[in-house]
């Protein structure tokens, strides 16, 4: 077993620029064997950048790296993998169209080659071993990856990464996409690795999780390391302050107990979908923040999609009670003042190659017109208002969205719906992968919308935010509502979990 406490990987004076934007500025730090090192900071602070440079996803602009006492400059991910550095990325790292086994051995098919032919049986067999190694038995490696949901795909990525027995594992913002079971799997892997004298670097926005799981925390802000904190000195307020460089003011969630109106604005009347839902009922009231929680496969995401007309409703109907409009598809939904923030931000909520301007303007084609034409002046005002109000970190609004950090991308998504002034917003995991600074801003925004008389459905896998924000909370299990809780009555998370499982 390797000796613990030895420096495994080290970066010295590392810098990275994207054009004129500085992502990392003279960063020094070392990861030691037997250690779980957390990287924490706001969106855009450089956490993902530094870890992806170590893992060979991109080269540094300048500076030195060392791995196992030798200079380290991987030319790509495969070289890093072979050297024992594995990384699980934040966004989907699997390809939907190919089988699970092919994903696990992507780029490594050579070993299964018999002449020009790939031995698929051997590959599937090995893939099954890889999955079993991390304790996953209910994924069939022979099936196409598209048949699995996001959580399962993450597990496939983890299996892929662990199959190579990495000595340094980098986990980038993965846990927010996982339910508790998935998280437990990953925590176990991390601690097993540390115990075996290997090392782990983890990036997460969940401060509680980081404080529980990590031995040391490195706080980054605007590409500079602010502090390294050992477990004994963990103090949430101190860490938060170091992350944002200012004191976080008192309230994170809303503190009021204001109710909502009697009037029902949106109603699901015994709806059945192809998957998940069978005769599901729901009523959303005016000025209500309605939370829906549960395990990730409980059907809550389908509820959101079905309400917005994205998943086919085969029986029953979704009705806007004001005028009896039936929401048959997303066009009807959009036209009648509904908005939807997808769980899959990059693939569904944004056009990544288009600019911030065009993404926000996309909800306003019917509002910024003069006769049949779009008025550039009104459109610009429409966009500028949101860019300013949400403090989107960008050089200008004509920058492509793809170049923004996760939190800033989500701000653009919120921006387009705020600009749209939708009466009913369906938010599916609205704060996935964003830091506490952005989260606080979004909670404030959601609360402001409620005060303006809008109705909001908030679907989330994070119980604290549901408890903190919702007037009424539905807990789902196996496609049905298993419990209903009211803000005015009060409840605790233990009760909720009982209804979830």
């Amino acid at each position: 077993m390797p000796e613990k406490g030895k420096v495994l990987a080290e970066v010295k004076d590392l810098c990275k620029n994207f054009g004129v934007t500085i992502a990392l500025s003279h960063v020094d730090f070392a990861v030691k064997t037997g250690e779980i090192r957390g990287l924490i900071g706001e969106n855009g602070s450089g956490k993902s950048t530094v870890s992806s440079i170590i893992a060979g996803l991109q080269p540094p602009s300048s500076g030195q790296m060392f791995y196992k006492d030798k200079p380290w400059r991987p030319k790509d991910v495969l070289e890093a993998q072979e050297a024992g550095i594995g990384m699980i990325v934040q966004e989907a790292g699997t390809i939907a169209g190919i089988s699970v086994a092919e994903n696990i051995f992507l780029g490594n098919y050579k070993r299964f080659k018999k002449g020009p032919i790939i031995d698929r049986r051997a590959m599937v067999f090995e893939a099954r071993k890889a999955l079993e190694k991390i304790g996953v038995t209910d994924i069939n490696p022979a099936l196409p990856t598209r048949m699995y949901d996001m959580q399962e795909r993450k597990l496939i990525e983890i299996a892929k990464c662990m199959y190579n027995d990495p000595e340094l594992l980098i986990v980038d913002e993965t846990t927010t996409a996982l339910s508790q079971t998935g998280r437990d799997i990953i925590y176990k892997i991390m601690h097993d690795m540390a115990d075996a004298g290997k090392a782990v670097m983890i990036i997460s926005h969940d401060l509680n999780e980081m404080m529980e799981q990590c031995d040391t925390l490195t706080v980054l802000r605007d590409g500079v390391i602010i502090d390294n904190i050992a477990k004994a000195d963990f103090d949430p307020d101190d860490i938060k302050q170091k992350m944002v460089g200012r004191e976080i003011k008192g309230h994170y969630y809303r503190v009021d107990n204001d109710g909502y109106k009697e009037e029902v604005v949106l109603k699901a009347d015994c709806i059945t979908t192809m998957h998940s839902l069978l005769c599901f009922d729901l009523e959303l009231h005016k000025q209500e923040i309605l939370g829906i929680g549960g395990l990730s496969d409980c059907g809550m995401h389908t509820v959101g999609r079905a309400l917005y007309g994205l998943d086919q409703v085969v029986d029953g109907q979704v009705v806007l009670t004001k005028d009896g409009t039936v929401v048959k598809n997303a066009q009807v939904a959009f036209k009648n003042g509904l908005g939807y923030v997808s769980k899959n931000r990059d693939t569904e909520s944004l056009e990544l190659n288009a600019s911030i301007y065009n993404n926000i303007a996309s909800t306003g084609y019917d509002k910024n017109n003069m006769g049949p034409f779009i008025s550039p002046r009104r459109e610009k005002a429409y966009v500028d208002k949101q860019v300013k109000a949400l403090m989107i970190k960008c050089q200008n609004a004509y920058q492509p969205v793809r170049a923004l950090s996760g939190g800033n991308k989500q701000k653009v998504v919120f921006g387009k719906w705020c600009a749209d002034d939708a009466d009913i917003l369906i938010l599916d995991c609205p704060t996935r992968g964003v830091d506490i600074g952005v989260k606080a801003a979004m909670y404030q925004l959601i609360y402001d919308m409620k005060k303006q008389g809008k109705s909001i459905i908030m679907i989330s896998e994070e119980l604290p935010e549901l408890m903190g924000m919702c007037d009424r909370l539905l807990i789902m299990r196996d496609g049905e509502v298993s419990g209903e809780f009211f803000r005015k009555d009060g409840y605790d998370d233990r009760t909720l979990i009982e209804y979830m499982i």
Partner: protein, 338 residues
């Protein structure tokens, strides 16, 4: 947030590598607008020098303009289809059939208006048919285009008959030419396209759908409607181009429209547009590109390059531009963050 300020103060200290500098220029939004014009200007200068000024003779320039106006009209129209993320290479065959029916209609009635109306109407109908095939039957537009190219070509050959050519009286074509029909019609169509493309809801929706269809649908846009509009806008342009091509040679033949699909594609990418659709699209790309293609064809011919070699050179330029223009996905998904 104070980050913006710190980035600005650090600007002066930055040392960018050459590659990064190129990337900064490439992602500048004005660069994409200026680049095609610079290419055109460069080409004119090079050919001007290489031919010792013969390139600027009025007859040469007029020839270039004649060719450019046909390619440009089609390319301006087809930009709508490209930006919606579709491809259609049947426009050569559509143009052939539209001009044939137009000429037949003229010869039957003797009316210029009927000639124009039949040409444009035919092109619109054929493009609508292409579109219906792909929207209703869910066949890829490019597949439909390959099949209908054969069908339309066969029908045209049948209509034209054994002579391989049908003529219209020279007075008619020269009359239309002297009346400035081509320039007026082209500029009217071009302006119409620019306005639709940049300043109306449908134009914007087309581009957004081409960039990310599921995102666009969640924002209330309909792909079927946008696809129809893109094909009809193209049909209108191809119909006009069919009339222009008849004016050009006073006749229609089985060869009319051959190779036009490739010229139009080349013009589109030379104009700075991505044939993969989405945000990097604009309406004037076709016009600038068409001038460049026509100048390139003529210029190479004048400096003594054989026409077979010209084909090869155009192919290389096309591939190089598509390569430079495409945002390639890396094999493994990664995240660019700052």
């Amino acid at each position: 947030m104070n980050a913006t300020a710190s980035v600005k103060t650090n600007d002066r200290e930055l040392h960018l590598s050459l590659k990064e500098r190129v990337e900064v220029i490439r992602s500048n939004r004005y660069f994409l607008m200026i680049f095609p014009f610079a290419m055109l200007a460069l080409m004119i200068v090079i050919f001007g020098v290489a031919t010792q000024g013969r390139f600027f003779k009025p007859s040469v320039l007029k020839g270039i303009l004649s060719q450019a106006i046909i390619i440009g009209t089609c390319a301006t129209g087809v930009a709508f289809i490209y930006s919606n993320g579709n491809l259609d290479i049947s426009i050569g065959a559509v143009l052939g059939m539209a001009s044939t029916l137009g000429v037949l209609a003229y010869n039957a009635t003797g009316s210029v208006s009927v000639f124009v109306l039949v040409s444009v109407g035919t092109a619109l109908a054929l493009m609508a048919f292409n579109c219906t095939m792909s929207v209703v039957c869910h066949i890829k537009t490019i597949t439909v285009a390959i099949v209908v190219t054969q069908i339309y070509g066969a029908i045209t050959t049948l209509l034209i008959g054994g002579a391989g050519k049908i003529e219209i009286p020279y007075e008619v074509s020269s009359g239309m030419e002297d009346g400035g029909f081509r320039y007026i019609a082209f500029f009217a169509y071009f302006l119409f396209c620019v306005v639709i493309y940049h300043y109306t809801k449908v134009g914007r929706e087309l581009r957004f759908l081409g960039g990310n269809e599921s995102c666009a649908q969640q924002t209330g846009m309909s792909n079927a409607k946008a696809t129809y509009i893109s094909f009809l806008m193209t049909g209108l342009g191809v119909g006009l181009a069919a009339v222009f091509s008849v004016i050009d040679v006073s006749a229609v033949s089985v060869e009319t429209g051959n190779g036009l699909g490739m010229d139009v594609m080349l013009a589109t990418v030379l104009g700075g547009m991505s044939i993969f659709g989405g945000a990097r699209s604009n309406a004037y790309a076709g016009l600038v590109g068409a001038l460049t293609v026509a100048a390139l064809n003529k210029g190479l011919l004048m400096v003594g390059v054989s026409s077979a070699l010209i084909q090869g050179i155009r192919g290389v330029i096309f591939l190089a531009l598509v390569y430079l223009n495409s945002e390639r996905q890396k094999l493994l998904p990664s995240r660019v963050q700052f």
